[in-house]
């Protein structure tokens, strides 16, 4: 190595190669955390619209009772693939994209610790989702057994696209695990001198914990899909009582993955909101340490509550009680977080730019989702709520107005740092208000139809649910259209706009706000000193 550095020309050439390559190659070969972060975010946005288009099909069919637009078989494929796309294609890649962009800049690292793996973990994703989406065009259609793919509906009784479904989930899992390894290795090894764990920004902390959850549960999902594959094609009987298996075993395995998975989709959101609220309240985050402990407790508890998705499967009463109590306990650390955010606002000096608006909406609406979650924890009541639209309302409140709203907040908050331009505030406020109103028209009445007894995953329904379903569909179309404003705003912001300062926001604190906007291709090549 020393021989190379002695030649000044070679050195200059070396420097030259550090800029981004041109054209498609830049994106295909990139190992730069900012480029990969951008790829993840754009991919997630694309998937958000594809999954959203499927939701539009669902809502169009449910606009009126009777079958109008699609047949039940295709309807089931739409609900299934909508769920898979939104979970694995939109929310998770969006968070990974944010982690790629922000974790190195927040801890003063030059890049992610494993840049080539980083490239790979992104570039297998388009293949995974192409396989999944193209399977919809197979004879017999795509997966139609719900994103939870309960056996034996997904084994003996599924169409031949199941093999492709299994393969694509494997690829998604590999991508997530590699992303998680990268985050953990980066955080453990590349923190700037002086940045102890308890000085890390909360976004870094929440992602650190999320990454451990991912590594713990993605292999469980891989196991579940593999068993589905061998049950269907290779004559095993993991989930078939006729061969000594048990269909409920599938649900235990799936939800052992599935419950931590839902926290994977919300913990980074907690980190984002914990960054934004102090900035716009111009006041330090209340209870930093308790936030870290609360996040860790939520992560640990997430492994002890999986069977609350399965109260009607016929568990012994002792198990039902255990899972009810554990599930109720989760309300405690989650409550601590909400109280801390409110205490952060208390006696601050708040302004209400778009990121703050989304963060505030997150706090209110995610809490509503938390309330319905608490109601669902009460086992006897869950017997009535289970598999109705009440559950659909619950998880859309935590995933759309929770996870997605936090991603929107993050996009607005860091866009000026990424592009170097301020976004259009008026357009952003329009996007926020349209989204806020329509999302509630969309999801709030679902509580009512669910309580009134409408099961989920049905393409047609009894007449007493008709009025609410029409209203829900209108909300759905409005919410879908509102998101086009966001695309317009992002394109505008990339193309130009008012020049952003380094700090961007008056109250912003943290290493990412000390470097220029847009963030240079290579930042923190020499680590900053943290006092």
């Amino acid at each position: 190595m020393s021989t190379v550095t002695t030649d000044p020309h070679a050195h200059a050439e070396h420097e030259h190669h550090h800029g981004p390559a041109k054209g498609l190659k830049r994106w295909l070969y990139t190992t730069n955390h900012k480029d990969i972060g951008t790829l993840y975010l754009l991919f997630a946005l694309t998937m958000f619209f594809i999954g959203g288009a499927m939701a539009m099909v669902i809502r169009a069919e449910l606009f009126q009772p009777g079958l109008q637009i699609v047949q039940p078989d295709f309807f089931n494929q739409m609900t299934t693939v909508h769920g898979l796309i939104m979970v694995f294609g939109a929310v998770m890649p969006a968070f990974t994209g944010l982690a790629n962009w922000l974790v190195p800049m927040m801890i003063g690292a030059p890049d992610m610790a494993l840049p080539r793996m980083n490239n790979w973990s992104f570039w297998i994703l388009p293949f995974a989702f192409s396989i999944l989406l193209l399977s919809l065009f197979m004879e017999g259609g795509g997966p139609g057994f719900g994103w939870t793919f309960y056996a034996p509906l997904s084994t003996t009784y599924s169409s031949d696209s199941t093999a492709l479904f299994v393969f694509s989930v494997h690829i998604m899992g590999i991508s997530s695990i590699m992303g998680a390894i990268n985050v953990i290795v980066t955080i453990m090894n590349l923190r700037a001198p002086g940045m102890t764990y308890m000085k890390m920004p909360l976004f870094v902390w929440t992602w650190f914990i999320t990454a451990y959850l991912l590594i713990a549960v993605m292999p469980v999902l891989a196991g579940a899909v593999t068993m589905v594959l061998t049950d269907k094609y290779f004559g095993t009987s993991f989930f078939d009582a006729a061969g000594g298996g048990d269909p409920v075993l599938f649900q235990h395995i799936f939800w052992f993955f599935g419950h931590p998975e839902v926290y994977i989709m919300i913990l980074p959101a907690f980190g984002i909101v914990s960054s934004i609220v102090p900035t716009f309240a111009r006041k330090p985050l209340f209870g930093y340490a308790s936030m870290v402990y609360a996040t860790s407790s939520i992560a640990l508890l997430s492994f002890l509550v999986w069977a609350h998705h399965m109260f009607t499967t016929g568990m012994p009463v002792f198990a039902e009680l255990f899972f009810m109590y554990c599930t109720m306990l989760i309300a405690v650390p989650t409550g601590v977080k909400v109280f801390n955010w409110v205490a952060t606002m208390w006696r601050g000096a708040m302004t209400f730019e778009v990121p703050m608006m989304f963060a505030l909406a997150f706090i209110v609406l995610f809490t509503i989702g938390g309330f319905s979650g608490l109601m669902l924890a009460i086992t006897p009541a869950d017997f009535q709520y289970h598999d109705t639209y009440f559950v659909v309302a619950h998880f859309h409140y935590v995933l759309v107005t929770g996870a997605i709203f936090s991603i929107m907040a993050a996009a607005y908050y860091w866009l000026p740092k990424w592009t170097g331009h301020m976004y259009d505030e008026t357009l952003g406020q329009w996007h926020f208000w349209c989204s806020l109103i329509s999302v509630n028209v969309l999801f709030f009445p679902m509580h009512f139809v669910g309580l009134a007894g409408m099961p989920r995953r049905i393409p047609d329904y009894a007449l007493q649910f008709a009025d609410f379903n029409a209203l829900i569909s209108i909300g759905g179309f409005a919410f879908g259209l509102s998101q086009l404003l966001f695309v317009w705003l992002v394109v505008k912001c990339i193309k130009g706009g008012e020049k952003a300062t380094d700090q961007v926001w008056e109250g912003a604190e943290g290493l990412e706000w000390t470097i220029p906007s847009p963030a240079p291709y290579h930042s923190f090549t020499t680590p900053p000193e943290i006092k």
Binding site: P72, G140, Y150, D240, G314, V342, T367, Q384, F448, L463
Partner: protein, 377 residues
């Protein structure tokens, strides 16, 4: 401020919604007609009110802060950022509330799961996409299918009052008795749910679950399958009629007699031949009820999922294989064994229909006796 008024509006609609319940547009969980369902309803309302109270408190503080602690009012932000006392308090308080909630929930749950000392036991078997009821103490069993005409679903006829919530043969139970349900499935997982009883139990293939109810009011109660079970998951409703003890006894005796008579009739039919017209008429009726959901009314099936019968090799040539698959089903596929679901004459008729409808025109006539011969001893 716009946001506050928005919240007030939504809160108002929410409360209004709960207070203006009407028969046309139910907005809340049903109180149901059993002691258990009442308890469940009260648990639901209790936890709902607790959530509302917490919500009002937390959002109240938050919006107070949003209104008063804003930069445009020229305030200087405080810099406090922790208080062990406050944090302990708001960790401990939810724990207390949760314990208070857990106690009644535990009591109700234990009562719900006590299926002992039942007066009547009924085996409920789900299959794609119908329910089968078998009275364990009487010689009565039958299938219960969606009764809503296809034309209503396809918007060619006006939808009836109980659209998608009506069946050909409802389950009948006695009032004032503890009725135990044994729930299982023949194929995928279904879930038997009647909201008015607060009973929802998964039907798992190969395993038997238990649930129970005790209905005090005679009446008609409707429910639906609650677990995604494939294409026609939305089309397998449940209707339960609760009759008082005397009426129930009369009904069950009559039903047992009718079913015994039908079996005797079946034996007699073995020696008789039905005409082609009779076979085709009965065959079409049976086909539409039991086969058309998968193989479609056109006999075209759904490519890649359910095979076509029109022009199929089996329906045109191989009669023994055709009889065998209808009688015994095909393992590892959605094709069920209809031998135990249909009468001999129905099976004979449906096979005749499949071999002569949709230009299959084989001219084959299959009689009940042929089916009886093919049946495994």
């Amino acid at each position: 401020m716009a946001k506050t008024s928005y919240l007030c509006c939504s809160l108002l609609t929410f409360l209004l919604a709960f207070s203006t319940q009407s028969a046309e547009m139910p907005l809340n969980m049903t109180q149901g007609v059993t002691e258990i369902s009442q308890q469940v309803y009260h648990l639901h309302m209790k936890i709902f009110y607790i959530c509302c109270a917490i919500g009002v408190a937390v959002f109240g503080v938050m919006f107070w802060s949003i209104i008063h602690h804003r930069k445009s009012k020229g305030v200087t932000p405080a810099q406090f950022h922790e208080s062990t006392k406050v944090e302990l308090l708001w960790t401990a308080m939810p724990v207390v509330i949760l314990i208070l909630m857990a106690i009644p929930a535990t009591q109700t749950l234990i009562a719900m799961e006590d299926t002992s000392e039942a007066d009547v036991t009924i085996l409920i078997t789900g299959s794609q996409w119908k329910w089968h009821y078998k009275y364990m103490d009487h010689k009565v069993e039958y299938y219960s299918l969606l009764a809503t005409p296809r034309k209503q679903i396809d918007n060619k006829l006006k939808k009836g009052e109980n659209y998608l919530l009506e069946v050909d043969r409802p389950l009948v139970i006695p009032t004032g008795k503890k009725v135990r349900f044994l729930v299982t499935s023949d194929d995928v997982i279904h879930s038997w749910w009647v909201p008015a009883f607060a009973v929802k139990k998964d039907a798992n293939p190969g395993f038997i679950n238990e649930a129970w109810t005790k209905v005090d009011q005679p009446g008609v109660y409707r429910g639906q399958c609650a677990e995604l079970c494939g294409k026609d998951h939305g089309f397998m409703p449940i209707v339960v009629i609760a009759k008082d003890q005397a009426d129930f006894e009369q009904w069950v005796a009559q039903e047992a007699a009718t079913q015994a008579a039908a079996k005797a009739e079946e034996q007699k039919l073995l020696s008789m031949n039905m005409s082609k017209e009779e076979l085709m008429a009965l065959g079409e009726k049976t086909y539409m009820g039991y086969c058309a959901a998968c193989h479609q009314p056109t006999g075209m099936g759904i490519p890649g999922v359910f095979p076509a019968l029109k022009g199929s090799k089996m329906a045109l040539e191989d009669l023994p294989a055709h009889i065998d698959i209808v009688l015994n089903g095909k393992t590892g596929t959605a094709m069920q064994a209809f031998g135990k679901q249909l009468s001999l004459s129905e099976i004979a008729a449906v096979i005749t229909y499949e071999r002569n409808a949709w230009e299959n025109n084989t001219g084959d006539l299959v009689q009940a006796a042929d089916i009886a011969k093919a049946q495994k001893p």
